[in-house]
């Protein structure tokens, strides 16, 4: 029984993410790391935050402390790298720019994943997925997997499947898989494998007799809403193929914070976009302060709408901050680095900022004076002027400001060069 052509051309969602992102970013400029067990360590070289497949195969877990792994590293041939967020931020920005070429509807979901609106026949969609995978490998140098489905939840699930089952070649379109196979997969996977289902909820679901993803898919959405929340009901509906998870506007993850929003009316001027970015930066600042975090890297981006296919642009910029900070002035200035890439008159439908390389703010309380945003305005300008004239690190806010502040105490002994953001750390190519 074949479905009518219009049914087969419903818009779908592609979920793209970079495999083992940090480890893959390290490998772009150091091919000798290819095929070797590689881990990336958290700030201060504390514990493993990213693992290459080879490191996973050694049984190394995320969060395992480095001091426990270090004695056996030589025996395993394990290579550890201090986190290099400037590199990851730049590679991330490049991946997102690239993805922007394949769909005008792009939601940057985290440093290494995005949702794209796509449309076409099943064959075309699979082809698009393969094209994206090949382009990321070639143009940027990182491996990605692509999951395509009618809903975000299913697209994420398809992506996970594509990653774990080599038969897919890294690209899986949910509806192109026979229903029996879909069910077999969902029956095999625990509900915890689903996007947005936490351990706590898993236990309550289990108590209701819902163990596998298939159990959840077959659950009554209304009953789920009564027992849990509307969020959980959406997950059930999404598993059933009804798209209902909207664009999210703010997320805080383990190592990043994102503010991004679509505009009701497109923004066409640099002046307006400056305001939007300022607002986001201040929201990010407030959120960081609330969680007692500071960021070291900021990415700002904007994008055009998919309703206006004749004009697409996805500018993105990655700004290393002079010091770990949650300061609204510094974050705002950093976000404004996007503005030179903004073309006056282009209809931008969304914009956002992402801060990464987060760390606890510790007991570095800023001077009270600096906490007042009204007072800070002038100081921000002054800081910028001084920095412009005398260079980064010549002046800063409070005692956290100068030359990296808390970075003084930060162990980063095994960090690879910041290949793409520092002129004196460019990748070396051998002429011999």
């Amino acid at each position: 029984m074949s479905k009518p052509a219009t049914m087969r051309q419903m818009p779908e969602i592609a979920h793209v993410d970079v495999n083992c992102f940090y480890a893959s970013a390290e490998r772009v400029f150091d091919p000798s790391l290819e095929g070797k067990p590689l881990i990336v360590l958290s700030n201060n070289d504390g514990c493993a935050v990213a693992r290459s497949p080879e490191a996973k195969a050694l049984g190394i877990q995320t969060g395992e402390p480095w001091f426990k792994l270090a004695p056996r590293a030589k025996e395993w041939g394990l290579i550890a790298k201090s986190s290099n967020y400037e590199l990851y931020g730049d590679i991330s920005a490049r991946v997102m720019e690239l993805l922007g070429r394949y769909s005008a509807w792009l939601e940057v979901y985290s440093i290494d994943e995005a949702f794209l609106g796509v449309k076409g026949t099943p064959e075309r969609l699979l082809e698009l997925g393969r094209t994206i995978k090949a382009a990321a490998a070639r143009n940027v140098g990182v491996p990605v997997c692509v999951g395509i489905a009618r809903t975000k939840t299913l697209a994420k699930l398809a992506n996970k499947w594509a990653k774990h089952n080599p038969a897919f070649g890294g690209v899986c379109r949910w509806d192109s898989v026979p229903p029996r196979q879909q069910e077999a997969l969902m029956a095999r996977l625990s509900v915890i494998e689903i996007w947005g289902v936490a351990t706590r909820i898993t236990k309550r679901l289990n108590a209701m007799g819902i163990h596998s993803i298939l159990d959840l898919q077959r659950a009554d959405p209304v009953r789920i809403r009564e027992r849990f929340s509307v969020v959980m009901m959406r997950t059930v509906l999404e598993l059933q193929g009804t798209p209902c998870i909207p664009m999210e506007e703010a997320r805080i993850g383990r190592d990043q914070l994102i503010f991004s929003r679509s505009f009701s009316t497109p923004i066409t001027s640099t002046r307006d976009l400056r305001q939007v970015l300022s607002v986001y930066a201040q929201m990010a600042s407030a959120r960081l302060a609330k969680h007692e975090l500071q960021a070291k890297l900021l990415t700002a981006f904007a994008g055009t709408s998919h309703f206006n296919a004749r004009q697409t642009a996805f500018p993105s910029v990655c700004v290393p901050l002079p010091m770990p900070t949650a300061d609204p002035v510094i974050l705002t200035k950093a976000a404004h680095a996007l503005l030179p890439s903004i073309v006056e008159g282009t209809r931008y439908a969304r914009a956002g900022i992402m801060v990464t390389d987060l760390r606890p703010s510790g007991n570095q309380k800023p001077l009270e004076h600096f906490e007042n945003p009204h007072e800070e305005r002038r100081i921000g300008t002054l800081l910028e002027d001084v920095t412009k004239r005398y260079g980064r690190g010549s002046i800063g806010l409070g005692h956290a400001g100068i030359r990296g502040g808390p970075d003084w105490t930060m162990k980063r002994g095994m960090r690879s060069p910041r290949y793409t953001t520092h002129w004196d750390e460019l990748p070396r190519v051998k002429a011999a």
Binding site: E97, L98, R101, Y102, S103, R124, A309, V429, A432
Partner: protein, 143 residues
């Protein structure tokens, strides 16, 4: 410079129209969009980098490319998106290292050449067995 190839095959519905409008690289000699603005000084990024997403700057160590005007310590602008062809100066992955060579693709096979008689050619059975990291488009030579 030769023809520059951007992302290929983008055909799924909506994306079709978008693809060629995105900031694709163009053949050299095509007027740069930057020329529409008269309020700024020459921006080397605009002129030297056609595809910012896939372009990287690398630094050369060694003298094997001297005859091509590429010296020890020079910076190269390398575009990963370009199709390597016969005669391209490429960054290839050799023994886990990024290495700069002249690529020769002939009827008799694929050869990575140095541009300095001190260094021997490296024969490769087929292009598919070679990892080309990127194609150099410019050398920032220290004079």
């Amino acid at each position: 410079m030769g023809v520059i190839i951007g992302p290929r095959v983008i055909e799924a519905g909506l994306s079709l129209q978008l693809a060629w409008l995105s900031p694709l690289p163009v053949a050299a000699g095509y007027p740069s969009p930057a020329q529409d603005y008269f309020d700024g000084r020459i921006d080397l990024n605009a002129h030297l980098i056609k595809d910012i997403t896939s372009t990287f700057v690398v630094r050369v160590t060694g003298d094997s490319m001297e005859r091509a005007g590429i010296s020890d310590g020079d910076e190269l602008i390398v575009n990963r998106a370009l199709e390597p062809r016969d005669g391209s100066v490429v960054v290839a992955v050799l023994d886990g290292e990024l290495t700069i060579k002249r690529l020769r693709i002939t009827a008799t096979g694929v050869v990575l050449q140095a541009e300095n008689p001190k260094y021997p050619d490296i024969r490769v059975p087929a292009l598919s067995e070679l990892t080309i990291w990127g194609v150099a488009t410019r050398c920032l030579h220290h004079v």
